[in-house]
Symmetry: C2
Subunit: 97 residues, 2 copies
DNA sequence: TTCATACTTGCATCTTAATGCAAGTGTATA
DNA sequence: TATACACTTGCATTAAGATGCAAGTATGAA
């Protein structure tokens, strides 16, 4: 079942509280760099950096380099679409053939 | 942010491939007991039992004891509702105030 | 070219969780 | 009551992942 690994890896990347906190933060900030997120979420710089790159790797965030800084932004529509796709699949009666 | 822990724990329970496989299986089977799921998913009995109880604890599954057997079923609407709630929150501009 | 800033990555440590066997609990049937 | 069946739980092992410091890389400014 390829949907299993597709969705389980998405859920995994969203399952860490710090990571999900960053997602919510980016949801209201529109975009932010590593230093800003590290500060407002009170998480070590290197930890934030790794979380963001993991979220980016999963397609949840986009990244935009401006000079020395990297600005991350939430890919709202993609993320929302994936979750609704899962919800639809769950609600349709025989979802995993 | 209480939504962070609410959703991160939901995502965590869905993030294990075996567990998500059981969810998909229950999605098409409507309901099944531990032995049936253990067999069709090729996972050790005790492992399946623990995964199911974790999913039940998270409100993803319901359980129904019939004699010696326990039949688990997927709470489709609740699960779909939660995920759509998350999707809506993500898409609304300032979601985490 | 030197320095500071912004970020990434290597590494060691520590938690958390998954796994499977074996033992325990509960329930129906002989 | 004894036995079998369905499941749960304890325990030890193993693996995966989070964390933070320190060192490395990249980019802009002096």
């Amino acid at each position: 079942m390829k949907n299993v690994s597709k969705f389980s890896s998405l859920f995994k990347v969203l399952s860490d509280p710090n990571r999900l906190g960053l997602v919510f933060e980016l949801c209201k900030c529109r975009e932010a760099n590593v230093g800003q997120l590290s500060q407002c979420c009170s998480i070590d710089f290197s930890v934030v950096s790794r979380h963001l790159s993991k979220l980016k790797g999963a397609g949840v965030l986009g990244a935009n380099k401006k000079g020395k800084e990297v600005y991350y932004d939430l890919k709202r529509e993609e993320l929302a679409r994936l979750l609704r796709e899962f919800a639809d699949e769950i609600e349709s009666s025989s979802c995993c053939n």
